[in-house]
């Protein structure tokens, strides 16, 4: 029998209780409020929510740090910038502006990125190479880039379609009245691989589940919203994802 753990000492319960809820404003609005990108009235309303919400308060604090860097030594920052200038985009090297990828097309790294990756290997800058092999994230979400999958009662944000590497998390738009979301990950035949519940609109794949996903394979996922009594309020469409290798 599992020993009872006090709620304040249960990391899983704390992670859920402190997460975002369906009442929370979109992240992009919180970031905009913290970075002075809204009217004063809009900003005040968002900050009032953030003051009493652990997740949104933390988001605002993190974003505010982007506007007013502090807490780090200037010389350390300069070392980071030197690394960027020596090896990355914005390094004084001519950059190509990538054309938007056609729907359904396989992903391909920009030409300069391939050139840069090859150059990094030659130069022995191993840490950057290692990162590109192991940590390219799935789809970025942000203003102007969120692609929502409609067709179900819950709108899915990411991952959708082709993703670079095994995704770390699944996300969707909030449903009014939802107390909990149930997530299911499916194999290509539609059989469940695993899943779980969260109060947030983001579900992080635990190591056991993520470990079952392979590159160059197709999967699907769906999410349903439950009220406090466990009754299903809404569900998403089944969303297909294709996991591409993070390096060739």
């Amino acid at each position: 029998m599992t020993p009872r753990v006090p709620p304040e000492e249960n990391p899983e319960l704390l992670a859920l209780a402190l997460g975002r809820t369906s009442e929370c404003p979109p992240l992009e609005r919180l970031a905009a409020a913290a970075l002075g990108d809204l009217t004063e009235a809009e900003r005040a309303a968002l900050l009032a929510h953030a003051e009493r919400c652990p997740a949104c308060g933390a988001e605002v604090a993190l974003a505010a740090g982007f506007a007013e860097p502090g807490g780090v030594d200037d010389a350390e920052v300069e070392r980071v910038v030197e690394r960027l200038r020596a090896a990355g985009p914005g390094a004084g090297r001519v950059l190509a502006f990538p054309a938007p990828r056609a729907a359904g097309a396989r992903s391909a790294a920009p030409v300069w990125a391939r050139w840069a990756a090859a150059a990094l290997v030659v130069l022995g800058v191993g840490f950057l190479w290692q990162a590109s092999r192991t940590a390219l994230p799935p789809e970025i979400t942000g203003p102007g880039t969120i692609d929502v999958v409609r067709g179900g009662e819950i709108e899915v944000e990411a991952p959708v379609g082709e993703v670079n590497g095994v995704p770390g998390a699944l996300s969707w738009r909030p449903v009014a009245g939802a107390a909990l979301y149930r997530v299911e990950l499916l194999d290509v035949a539609g059989d469940p691989l695993g899943g779980g519940e969260t109060v947030a609109t983001r579900f992080e794949l635990d190591p056991a589940l993520a470990g079952r996903l392979r590159e160059r394979a197709r999967y699907a996922w769906r999410v349903s919203a439950l009220d406090a009594s466990g009754r299903e309020l809404a569900r998403s469409a089944v969303v297909e994802i294709s996991i591409l290798p993070v390096s060739k």
Partner: protein
């Protein structure tokens, strides 16, 4: 931060010009990225608790993703806001990937593998536990204490990284807020009697 050129174009003008003029795009984007390298680098340093190589790695990946995504920027926010969201997403995804590595333990308590297939009544019970704990957090914790808990338990940040990200300069930093928060929550549940504690402790 570097001095600001008052004659320079706004970030959004640079992006728009780059989207409209393929020949000029490389130089325009180079200028755009140069403007923000220190901002991204400083934030990455705090996220990585001062580890320069990790921060450079993170910042590099941010600009790679910006490069990939910028054609889809729709000017619905300031460029800086959009850049921050890309930075945050890359940082969280890297933290997710790090937690998935077997060398990193899952904190003090392993997740119950049966949770993923919990029946409806157990889901309802779990939802009630979460609701009770969230209500306690809002009722008894200071906002800063709740934010520290969120960053540590939900986002998985280390306490030294939270110190830097929130600019905490008290003697024990985030650890002091975490300890105080847990003490307040423990007293809250004890103060509501054994029934309330049992409800919050009940294992789904």
């Amino acid at each position: 931060m570097p001095p600001i050129d008052s004659d320079r174009q706004a970030d959004e003008q640079l992006v728009r010009a780059a989207q409209q003029d393929a020949a000029a795009a490389p130089q325009l984007l180079d200028e755009l990225f140069r403007r923000h390298q220190r901002r991204v680098g400083a934030w990455a340093l705090r996220w990585c608790d001062g580890r320069t190589e990790d921060a450079a790695d993170l910042a590099q990946e941010v600009f790679l993703r910006v490069q990939e995504k910028l054609a889809g920027f729709r000017f619905e926010s300031a460029f800086t806001t959009w850049l921050y969201l890309v930075t945050r997403t890359v940082a969280l995804n890297r933290a997710d990937a790090a937690r998935r590595r077997p060398a990193v333990s899952l904190e003090e308590h392993e997740l119950d593998p049966e949770d993923s297939a919990a029946p409806a009544d157990e889901v309802a019970s779990r939802a009630q536990q979460v609701a009770l704990l969230r209500a306690a957090v809002v009722a008894v914790l200071e906002p800063l204490e709740a934010r520290v808990l969120h960053l540590h338990y939900t986002d998985g940040l280390t306490l030294p990284a939270i110190d830097r990200l929130l600019g905490l300069d008290n003697k024990s930093g985030a650890k002091a807020y975490l300890v105080a928060a847990k003490r307040k929550l423990r007293r809250h549940f004890e103060g509501r009697g054994p029934g309330a504690r049992a409800a919050a402790e009940e294992e789904a």
